[in-house]
């Protein structure tokens, strides 16, 4: 067993960065490193814009509660998925092989993480980067939305191509820096806008019900909460991995949301980088934008490429470069054609926030309820890859629960928080379906894949490797 110290590591990592095999002991990282990588993902302009949206809809006290409740939901979901990743030492998509089957993991991963979080989110963040650069220097050709998207996208691709080492390095350098620069932006913006008294007495421009705000907060980072195993598979401690996620969400995210929201209450707009420019921290404003997007987007690309390693004939690094170039081209296209329109981002965020949690619901139900409470399997044996084991190619139980949960939560049920509805429905359906089918002795499985020393690597890669 790969996770056991007394056994020799028996896997061959043909795809790179342990994409389709368990992470070995010597590659594990501390809880601090996991915390920094997570916070690096969170530290981005989009998170501050999320806070700015709250500032348009709520008073300070309402905003505080919306942020706390939304982040608590994300915190709990992310804790559970983080713990799962640290226990299995496998990526999100490899973990999904159990409830969805290997092809199911790829297809669902492709729809929800490979395209959405991978190319899709990468493209959106790269485009946002272009907008930010253009706002900072509107008359410079290199800073036009399209051109900045191109060089920004290429820059973000570099650390993702290096892998977890590159991502962790950039996060260590950036995280405290970014928190401080963001705090300067908040405090100077509030001061210029009329001070703390104005923040406390300000009325929101477009008031909204409590649940809408919570849904927006949950939707902002729920995709991240779902794919935490991509990072926590490198964690030394299972509980540490969960806490790294929970703490960054409950402290750092609440701080970002409230800070940006207060800026809006004081000034009427989310002038995050403008506030830094106004107080003479010009280079800081640029670095806030560049490093913030970079630490987030390299993770998006890294995670998206991991999904493709399940079926792709090329290495993880080649996948990162290919997907990065496609995402950059998409961002540049939108930048050149749509300019600084904000609409695609909002539509994208809304869909993402509603549908993705259904996958998290299925995964959590399978790992904690079906295999944990029902089958009574020990934590480190629930998702364990063993040579010779046969994993389903398609497991319809996961498909059914996720489709129903996602569709009902996103389009049918109109009350409550859509993202939470999707997650809870798929969670409940999976628990009922998996346990009932097991009791009836029925398996909704198509095909079996035998695990070899190459882990979950595609068969043609294995053949190619064995020939050479």
């Amino acid at each position: 067993m790969a996770s056991s110290k007394e056994h020799k590591y028996e896997w061959v990592d043909v795809m790179g960065d342990y994409s389709v095999v368990p992470v070995p002991d010597e590659a594990l990282r501390t809880t601090t490193a996991i915390f920094f990588v997570f916070t690096g993902v969170l530290a981005c302009i989009a998170a501050l814009w999320g806070g700015a949206v709250l500032g348009l809809q709520y008073t300070f006290t309402e905003m505080l509660w919306v942020a706390i409740v939304g982040c608590l939901i994300q915190g709990v979901i992310g804790f559970l998925t983080s713990y799962m990743g640290a226990a299995s030492r496998l990526s999100t998509y490899a973990n999904m092989s159990w409830p969805y089957g290997r092809y199911g993991a790829f297809l669902w991963g492709l729809a929800l993480a490979g395209i959405t979080c991978g190319i899709g989110w990468f493209a959106v963040e790269t485009w946002l980067f272009g907008i930010m650069m253009h706002d900072l220097m509107p008359n410079n050709l290199l800073m036009s939305v399209g051109v900045a998207s191109i060089w920004g996208g290429l820059l973000m691709m570099t650390t993702a191509a290096i892998g977890i080492k590159g991502i962790a390095f950039l996060s260590y350098l950036t995280v405290p820096f970014w928190i401080i620069l963001a705090s300067i932006s908040f405090s100077s913006g509030i001061m210029v806008g009329g001070g703390w008294e104005k923040v406390l007495s300000a009325r929101p421009l477009s008031p909204a019900p409590f649940g809408i705000g919570v849904a927006q907060v949950v939707g902002l980072y729920i995709a991240g909460a779902t794919i935490t195993p991509d990072v926590t598979r490198f964690a030394k401690s299972r509980v540490g991995a969960g806490l790294a996620w929970f703490i960054q969400v409950m402290i750092v995210e609440v701080f970002f949301l409230l800070g940006a929201g207060c800026l809006v209450l004081a000034t009427g707009g989310a002038r995050i980088t403008e506030a830094l420019l106004a107080v003479g921290v010009g280079l800081g404003a640029y670095l806030l934008a560049v490093l913030g997007q970079w630490t987030t987007n390299d993770n998006n690309l890294y995670s998206g490429a991991l999904n493709f390693t399940l079926i792709s004939p090329i290495s993880r690094r080649a996948l990162v470069i290919t997907l990065g170039l496609i995402g950059t081209a998409m961002a540049a296209y939108v930048g050149f054609v749509a300019g600084a329109s904000f609409d695609p981002f909002i539509a994208f965020l809304t869909f993402l926030g509603s549908f993705v949690p259904a996958v998290a619901g299925t995964l959590i139900a399978d790992f904690y309820v079906y295999r944990g409470l029902y089958k009574k399997m020990p934590v480190n044996e629930r998702y364990v890859l063993k040579i010779g084991d046969k994993i389903p190619e398609i497991n319809l139980t996961g498909w059914i629960s996720t489709v129903i949960g996602g569709v009902l939560g996103t389009w049918v049920i109109t009350t409550g928080i859509p993202s939470l509805n999707s997650m809870l429905i798929s969670f409940i359906i999976y628990c009922i379906l998996a346990i009932a089918l097991d009791k009836a002795g029925i398996q909704l499985v198509i095909g079996r894949y035998e695990v070899t020393k190459y882990g979950l690597a595609p068969r043609w890669i294995i053949k190619k490797v064995e020939k050479t």
Partner: protein, 133 residues
């Protein structure tokens, strides 16, 4: 490995003392401008906490690799804060209120940054701990 431990101690104690001085500076401007004092204090309290914790953790580790991991982790916090300090302490907004205190903190931040980078390199070379453990 004692030279690595001593070097890390020296850096963390320096950061502890200078961040304490910086905190005193920050407190002195709270009355004049709490909006400037807030990021100022965040910049000084963060390395203060991580340096104090680092001194205790470095003391407890005996094997070289573990010592390298703990040292590099704590040094990174101070380096990153130093990076931010270099960016904003010299800005007019801070110098107008902080005067020489702001200039002093900019110099201290630069030392945190440069010395920290060098120390990470040295610890990595001697202990083989990852640069981002």
């Amino acid at each position: 490995m004692e030279d690595v431990r001593r070097h890390t101690y020296a850096y963390l104690v320096f950061s502890m003392v200078t961040s304490l001085i910086g905190t005193a500076f920050g407190i002195s401007i709270v009355g004049e401008s709490p909006y400037i004092a807030f990021p100022w204090l965040l910049t000084t309290i963060m390395p203060l906490i991580t340096s104090v914790a680092g001194v205790f953790r470095v003391k407890r580790v005996s094997e070289p690799y573990g010592l390298g991991v703990v040292s590099i982790q704590h040094v990174w916090w101070v380096v990153s804060v130093g990076f931010a300090g270099v960016m904003f302490f010299p800005a007019d907004f801070f110098v107008k209120i902080g005067g020489m205190m702001s200039i002093t903190m900019a110099i201290i931040s630069a030392i945190w940054l440069i010395w920290g980078f060098y120390l990470i390199y040295v610890v990595h070379e001697k202990t083989k701990a990852p640069v981002a453990p």
